[in-house]
Symmetry: C2
Subunit: 216 residues, 2 copies
């Protein structure tokens, strides 16, 4: 059965692949599962039909027969459990790959989102100049710890997994921050993710939505 | 094999069960798995031995034979996959329970932690009085959405699951905020979690650590 995901009708990142549908598209491409996309507007995301599918009014969602899911992490894990290629077969290695999925979303992403949100919501506030270094410091704290753990390894734990996939998408949110340049091994890790054919197919698919919407 | 978890030697919450080892203790109690606890000081958490186990220098960790995990969400999921009682058997219901685990940690917890951190780090700043309503607003946004989804149901999706377990522990962080009182069904949801015998055993175990450490 072909699953259907939702994505922004008009992505606020202008096709840079930073919206959370990118994670799900990439996972589906890695395992070779075709999918359909239903685009939703910001207005539709707040309406009852979408809220029945996603109580927090966001994208992506995932529908497959009677199953409806939200939360990009849960959707990627569901895909990884149903297809080979995103989780190791060895039980301990599999548990560690899932650990990195949670680490990406629960430990690394929150300070990155915080910094991003302050850039939108607090840039014109008197305190922004004093808060930004605090926010940068929190992000650097996590990046430094992650960088030390990754070291010279190619991926976070053995071969490429859903943990790497989520971590790359989380780190990409910093691409214009100037912070990643301080951690060359993390920048190289992101580049390895972006070089994967499945990543490139997913990126092209989400960019095509933006290009079409903007009449480009 | 008896797993070993780590917990704070001296919990900053003074035994209120808000540290993340509580989630793992509760999960282990729900499935009837005995466990051992190794207490770590704040100084030890930043040293190489602990960082080898947890690259982000936090608790809890989980060791079982050759497997070592960090991230409370990943540990709870690992326990739930290895024992009956925390995930439904039906595949779709299981995927939805895992979805609620991610929702608790990725969507509901971040604005709660933000608000909490500002209370520690920014209380003496000139901007705190203006920022607090913004932070409260973000928390209320999530609580309102969660409250509408839960409605009059007992748990988030059918029977009690690891998703409810994590959501209860996340919401408990707001217990002194005054915000939960605005959502009676969420307050009742938390109370149902706290009334479970497994929760009470886990709570007593973490409180005993604080009581012993404080010479009480």
């Amino acid at each position: 059965m072909t699953p259907t995901i939702t994505a922004f009708e008009s992505s606020p990142d202008r096709g840079r692949g930073l919206a959370r549908d990118m994670r799900v598209r990439w996972a589906l491409e890695e395992v070779g599962q075709p999918y359909e996309v239903r685009l939703v507007s910001f207005e539709e995301m707040k309406q009852a039909v979408h809220l029945a599918l996603h109580p927090f009014g966001q994208i992506p969602t995932y529908e497959e027969g009677d199953l409806a899911l939200f939360e990009s992490g849960a959707i990627v894990l569901h895909i990884a459990e149903r297809h080979a290629g995103l989780l190791p077969v060895d039980a301990d290695a599999r548990a560690r790959a899932i650990m990195w999925m949670f680490a990406a979303l629960s430990t690394v992403e929150p300070p990155i989102v915080d910094r991003e949100m302050a850039g939108y919501a607090e840039r014109d506030k008197a305190w922004y100049a004093e808060r930004l270094p605090i926010l940068d410091g929190r992000v650097r704290g996590r990046l430094g710890q992650l960088s030390r753990r990754l070291g010279e390894a190619e991926w976070l734990d053995g071969g490429f997994s859903a943990g790497d996939l989520l971590m790359v998408t989380v780190l990409r949110r910093l691409e214009t921050s100037g912070l990643l340049e301080e951690y060359p091994n993390l920048a190289a890790f992101i580049a390895r993710g972006e070089a994967r054919p499945a990543y490139r197919r997913a990126f092209a698919a989400q960019l095509a939505v933006f290009t079409a919407a903007s009449g480009g």
